[in-house]
């Protein structure tokens, strides 16, 4: 069996998320539709994570089984892009070992969360960012210092959506930072793995701590191991999966 890996760039606004669901259109299903239209049979597709409804990706990785061996890997992006909606683009493809798994083999991922610190949402970016108006501009250095207190290996149970049934909630956050670019505050989080809603709760917690509405220290929030100890969950639409890390990296071929 030939397994091909694909790198995807997609706008999540109109999808119910990555994963096929009964209600709504998923990225996974439009990819299967495109492959079926191109090659005549419906492939199995496995993703690196289950992004939520509204979440975007610039470097999502999935594998596709069941593509005829006669289709060269470097032709796959063209063949699929011609049949995908404008919101999903295949940017690269790679032939991978049949036991390569985009989720279990990932060494880590980077997400970005974009806040527009302005009075009104910007219509040009409102699908990809959340507007946080403040009297005084938010202090990116202060936010960045708070972010730094959540890096390292911790039990992140306080940063997991309640109702999630993951048992091992220890993760290593390699980097969590905040930089300002005009009225944009870009939060970047890299970790070996993420709990459900973890990035959205991390960003909400840093904003709540900075605003003074959450009166605990980062250490207290982590050690509570209780969702109620952390801050709010930020909206999905400002979250983007930037990069998935593998070692070795698949031999990507860009068309």
């Amino acid at each position: 069996m030939e397994r091909r890996a694909l790198k995807l760039r997609y706008v999540g606004t109109e999808f119910c998320g990555w994963q096929v669901q009964k209600n709504g259109v998923s990225v996974q299903s439009v990819l299967q539709d495109a492959a079926e239209a191109a090659f005549g049979s419906r492939p199995t597709v496995t993703g690196c994570s289950r992004t939520d409804a509204g979440v975007h990706a610039k470097g999502f990785v999935c594998v596709m089984d069941g593509i005829p061996e006669s289709v060269p890997t470097d032709r796959l992006p063209d063949a699929l892009n011609a049949r995908l909606p404008a919101s999903v683009v295949v940017t690269a493809a790679a032939k991978v070992d049949p036991d390569f798994h985009p989720r279990y083999d990932a060494k880590g991922k980077e997400y970005r969360y974009t806040v527009r610190n302005r009075r009104f949402p910007d219509p040009f970016t409102s699908d990809y960012s959340v507007c946080v108006p403040t009297r005084e501009p938010l202090d990116a250095d202060a936010l960045n210092a708070l972010c730094g207190q959540f890096t390292g290996t911790h039990d992140f149970r306080s940063f997991m959506a309640s109702g999630s049934d993951v048992e091992d909630t220890v993760r290593t956050v390699y980097d969590f930072s905040c930089t300002r670019n005009g009225d944009e505050l870009i939060f970047s989080v890299s970790a070996d793995g993420f709990l459900y809603n973890m990035v959205r709760i991390l960003v909400g917690t840093v904003l709540d701590l900075n605003a003074g509405v959450l009166k605990r220290t980062p250490g207290e929030i982590l050690s509570a191991c209780d969702r109620a100890a952390a801050g709010r969950t930020m909206p999905a639409k400002a979250l983007t999966l930037e990069t998935v890390f593998y070692d070795p990296e698949p031999a990507w071929e860009e068309p």
Copy 2:
């Protein structure tokens, strides 16, 4: 009568254009709806130009009559934004003389046209740009040199959509330039006025001249005074009205 000027930022994707039309939702009508919901009576709204379906604006100017005098100008943006769809934002307001006319008093306008010179459209910007794939990257300096040959005062009849019934087709283009930013080519055009589809035909002509598919000189195209002499009309969705120039500028109040 009190006349207020408004500065608007809008994404044109889902509108039939600025102007109220029988079929489709216009920017003008959602603005009237918002004012009616806020102040109880439907105002008259007059715009600086009739942007087409799909065209965007970052600095569109209109005037609104019939707003109660009791509403302070600096409160207008908040009151309207609370009732406008996410795709339209009022960024500033000004009290203007009752004879101020956003179209006839404009000294000029700047439009921008965004080309993504890449193999596949980028889903994050595909509503605001047009993808032009080429074997070799487009040469921004060569494009910019071609743009420069259309500046100045000319009869731009060759750059007016056929079927348009404007008589005086002489316009002064103050600036027409092309700059590259990564895979983005940004065409900027400033003029004292624009004919119907003029920017979209100017950009299409420069691209066609550069590609060698249009075998005339800029001077020949201008002097032909014939739409058939110029290049293709580029799609509307990559066009943005950036700025409208007035002298004196209305006394804008930003909330």
